[in-house]
Subunit: 365 residues, 2 copies
């Protein structure tokens, strides 16, 4: 199987072996050693001095945690979106009764720092700006560094800047401390090469100050509770051990490879993917210059239906690519995050070349 959806991603052999280990006491010494190492390694990739909390949930749970821990009902939030996952963050803020101003960019386009800054200046003050780093649904990478700088230049005090980097971090750099990001969120099943089941989140000191007065209800996702338990290298509730075993093994590999080396490898994989697509006559859905290093959204020749291609890839090649998250976006999505090689991508394009030379239309008739 060539699993090329944008998460869950395939596990390297050593990670898979780690996942299959027997259960242990999550209040015992072996667990505390493992969790202590995971926490230390995560700080390298979040590029932060803050602690990183590991939650047993999907990334969506950590998005909710960022809202539940820092905001109160009625707080004004600017929700920046350029796709399905930006819309999801917006919906979560609304579910918690924030007073949300939606700022939506066209699908396939990146969020524009200057447009965001203008909204902050003219429609603020906001308690928080929430946005997506890597919009998985369209294959767009937002320039979080420029966005954060523009927001800070537009308001003093600046709103909290909270970033969903679920499908970015681990494959794309996000310098939380240097860029002044207040909440960073990611998920184990993306660039981290670990199974789904864990979300990771870090808060800045400013976000922790907001925690002290935030009135949203929280218990399972209470990061204050997570902070108390992390001090002894534990979690408040029983964590998803197999995913944690996997994350521990993958972080060991990742720490050896290094933050910038991994990011460079992802940029190279993405460039290769785009070139192969263009060679085949396919289109790139994302705005030029804002291509995601971890997932590429491809448009198909006129008359070829994405679902027909996806089904044929599974049936004839055991290649699993991603469908569109959004019915308005007619693409197939190729994940190249985490454990992915040039050869994995070449196999996808060899199959696409065969299919597009006439096979698909035959299969779908």
């Amino acid at each position: 199987m060539n699993l090329r959806i944008p998460g869950p991603t395939p596990l390297p052999p050593d990670v898979l072996l780690a996942v299959g280990q027997q259960m242990i006491n999550h209040r015992g010494a072996a667990f505390e050693r493992l969790f202590g190492e995971v926490s230390a390694w995560l700080k390298l990739f979040f590029e932060t001095e803050q602690e990183v909390y590991v939650l047993t949930s999907s990334g969506t749970g950590a998005m909710e945690a960022s809202i539940a821990n820092t905001l109160s009902p009625g707080d004004r939030v600017l929700a920046v979106s350029c796709g399905s996952f930006g819309d999801r963050y917006d919906e979560i803020a609304r579910a918690y009764r924030a007073d949300v101003t939606s700022l939506k960019f066209a699908l396939g386009q990146a969020a524009d720092p200057e447009v965001i800054a203008r909204a902050v200046r003219e429609q603020g003050p906001f308690q928080a700006v929430i946005l997506t780093h890597n919009e998985t649904s369209t294959g767009v990478l937002n320039d979080v560094q420029a966005i954060a700088a523009a927001i800070r230049a537009a308001a003093d005090p600046a709103p909290l800047i909270m970033v969903d980097s679920i499908s970015g971090l681990g494959g794309v750099r996000l310098q939380m401390d240097a860029w002044g990001v207040d909440a960073v969120i990611t998920g184990s099943q993306k660039a981290w090469m670990a199974p789904p089941g864990l979300a990771m989140i870090a808060l800045s000191q400013r976000a922790w100050q907001a925690y002290e007065t935030a009135q949203n209800p929280r218990y399972y996702f209470d990061l204050g509770l997570a902070r108390r338990y992390l001090a002894r290298h534990q979690t408040p509730s029983t964590p998803a051990l197999p995913a944690l075993y996997g994350l521990h093994a993958s972080l060991r590999r990742m720490a050896e490879e290094g933050v910038e080396a991994i990011a460079a490898r992802h940029r190279a994989l993405a460039a290769h993917c785009r070139q192969r697509a263009l060679d085949l006559g396919l289109g790139l859905y994302a705005q030029e210059g804002r291509y995601s290093p971890t997932v590429t959204a491809l448009t198909l020749p006129d008359g070829v239906k994405p679902n027909d291609v996806l089904k044929a890839l599974v049936a004839q090649y055991d290649i699993h690519a991603g469908s569109s998250k959004d019915p308005r976006v007619g693409v197939i999505r190729i994940g190249h995050m985490g454990h992915c090689s040039i050869a994995d991508l070449d196999a996808v394009f060899a199959a696409l070349a065969e299919l597009l030379s006439g096979e698909i239309s035959a299969a779908s008739r």
Copy 2:
């Protein structure tokens, strides 16, 4: 290792093998087959016609889901507790701004149906009564059937009856439909012999009616969203696949063994555990007649510290038993849920016999 904490529990070999399988597309056909089987098998053990929802979280997350999906701020809740996990449910309801009346029974005692009924009659009306089925911290099994009947006899309409059976269900019967329970919650890492990472919850039709008007914020734990996705055998967010692979393998075994056969086996294991404890001169912490079939809390001879015994069991025998959850409860806890044999328990008591014949006091000096 002899893992005898009351969860996570050891995985049988076939379950462990299943856990270590490669990732798949959680929006693909293989996943939908697997998840469809898991859902069908869970209904057998919940003894309900309702759908059972699988959440990626610990059991605590599903406790929160029961509150978030059925209640509104200010709703009156009777929180029945006879230990740490009953207290936790109480705290979650308070975190969501319910108007909570706490009804606490002495540690080691079971919740008394008549006392609960009186509270419902005299201090009601309540929107919900929340309680624990199997109080893991003290080794007490509450009589949910009698409690539910007493509540219904005490108020019309009856409050919602919501039960944390995290460490019970799968090893202890809870006839959700026949007993008229409105929310049942459990966790994969207990009697289900699967890894931690998944919680399971079912709601009655009455609870689903409450969902329609409940105002508490919810997104990640929104069971309405889970219901829409379950219709196509999927989950709203990416689920903890290794735990789900494990749960699928364990449920296959469990469905073959049968609901009552499994419950009988747990009763026999618990009876054996108690007899061996009494033979050794140890005490049973729980009220006579309300012993848990899945976990036994043992009191030690005067002057012997639980933590010394637990440390010596690990260091000298690689036996991992549970500490007290509550500083007021001086016990060690022996889990015998899920994958546990008479021989596993005998090994614990052989070690305890050696330790208590003088070794511990030497070790702790």
